[in-house]
Amino acid sequence: MIKNPVKKEQLVKWVLVTFALSSLLFLFLIFIFILFEGLPLFHKIGLKNIILGFKWAPTKGSFGIFPMIVSSFLVTFGALIIGAPMGLSCAIYLAEYSGKRLKMFLKPALELLAGIPSVVYGFLGVVYIVPIIRDYIGGSGFSLLATSIILGIMILPTVISISFDALMSVPKTYREGSFAMGATKWQTIHKVVIPAAKSGILASFILGMGRAIGETMAVIMIAGNALRIPSSILDPLRTLTGNIALELAYATGDHRLGLFSTGIVLLVIIMILNYIANFGIKRKM
């Protein structure tokens, strides 16, 4: 133990700085190693042929991931179409209508469910959603629709929790002012509270999108993983994440590089989404 307190303080400070820098170091390492593995292929095959290419046959020299980019966005928007209205109305109910006791119980209960592992969602999707779609709607069931439903449910806790916080942070005076002018509760919520909480609600949608676009194991279980851009919501599809997880264990050589370039594209999309959610929107709040 160092006795001199001044020296010790200095030492502590430096150790803590190192710890704080470790996060940056890890981020840097992740970027470097994914870029380092994936970029040579961009150089070799060409950015355009990868990002806009339609054919993925890495053992035969084709590395087009355009269908997967499209598919990733399709499932993400599908998840949003299902999860956003459900999540938002649930958040509105919790924030504006439910009693204090119910609120104290429901909010943590919903957040607890965020902890259910994604593989469990995927499994239930395979066992319940996929057969229902196959038997009553059509197709094999492994589809854009099934994936959107499962992802929509998976993003609920994120959407609910963050929109709820945004709604709760709207000052009481706004509501009182609206009521004083004779507005009904719904008019108040609709015309005053939601606009005031708009940026937080948007942030919850974007973070939900981030979760949906990054989800992997549940997706490969229910998406069917076909390489074509789906032409209907009943067609199977493969996302960027699914592409990596399906083939990583097997891949060598250029094939592996191809998966890392898939990773780069995913990383870029995620960083843009996070940037929008964290710095573009939250700052305005």
């Binding site: 710890f19 996060s23 890890f26 992740i30 469990v120 507005a183 509760k185 994440t241 990383l267 989404l273």
Partner: protein
Amino acid sequence: MRINPRFTNKFVQIGLNLQAFFTVGILVIIVAIICFKGLPYVNFEFIFSYPEDMGRLGGIFPSIVGTILLALLSILFATPLGVGTAIFLTEYTKESKFTKIIRFGVESLAGIPSILYGLFGFIFFVIKLRMGWSLLAGVLTITIMILPTIIRTSEEAIKAVPRNLRIVSYSLSATKWETVTKVVLPSAIPGILTGIMLSVGRAVGETAAVIFTMGSSLRLPTSLFDSGRTMAVHFYILAREGISMEKAYGTALVLVVSILLINVVAYYLMNKAISKYS
């Protein structure tokens, strides 16, 4: 045409009620299915015996041990790093460009999807550092993955400690570090534990980042260099390969119950932390 606003109001209220209960209902059903389908297969033997025939028979003991090892070792690494970072950000520096950059790094890490952690862990720990599929590679990958959660919750917890306590400690001739370790951290412990518990929950439920770094060997890992299988990975393989639906449901039940328990403890600690100063 104008609809009576009072009518709309009532209509919306009923609609929202139904909607909220529908949403909660879905989530309750998910847990209920797992419980009812899994309960018949979970017993003492299932938890404490070894799997046979790739998991078609026997229990899930090695995967439980694998899960516990992964989660414990990850928080062992991530906690000092995360709490240290939080202390630095709250106590040792003012808001500046530097802290902004660090916060940006933490936020970015938090947003990276787990498959990319898997991709990174695979290329860096498994291949470049030649750890192979091993407990160690899994632990280090998960450590990085849970770090942001620990940093953010610890920072909140430390910020919540009243400034007065720090002032008193300084006035009693404590140095900054003595103040942090003897006054600030003890008061922030429930909040920090919340972050740790949430991270444990995340490590336990993770599949994508684990399967490519820790591998999926069904053996009981006995050293850091052994490959192993966590419950989540075991469940994934059982369900996806159709090895045994019964064992899959059983594993899912153990998995979900342990995660819910961990999260309940986390919430309990969080409430304790909140009520302490309000």
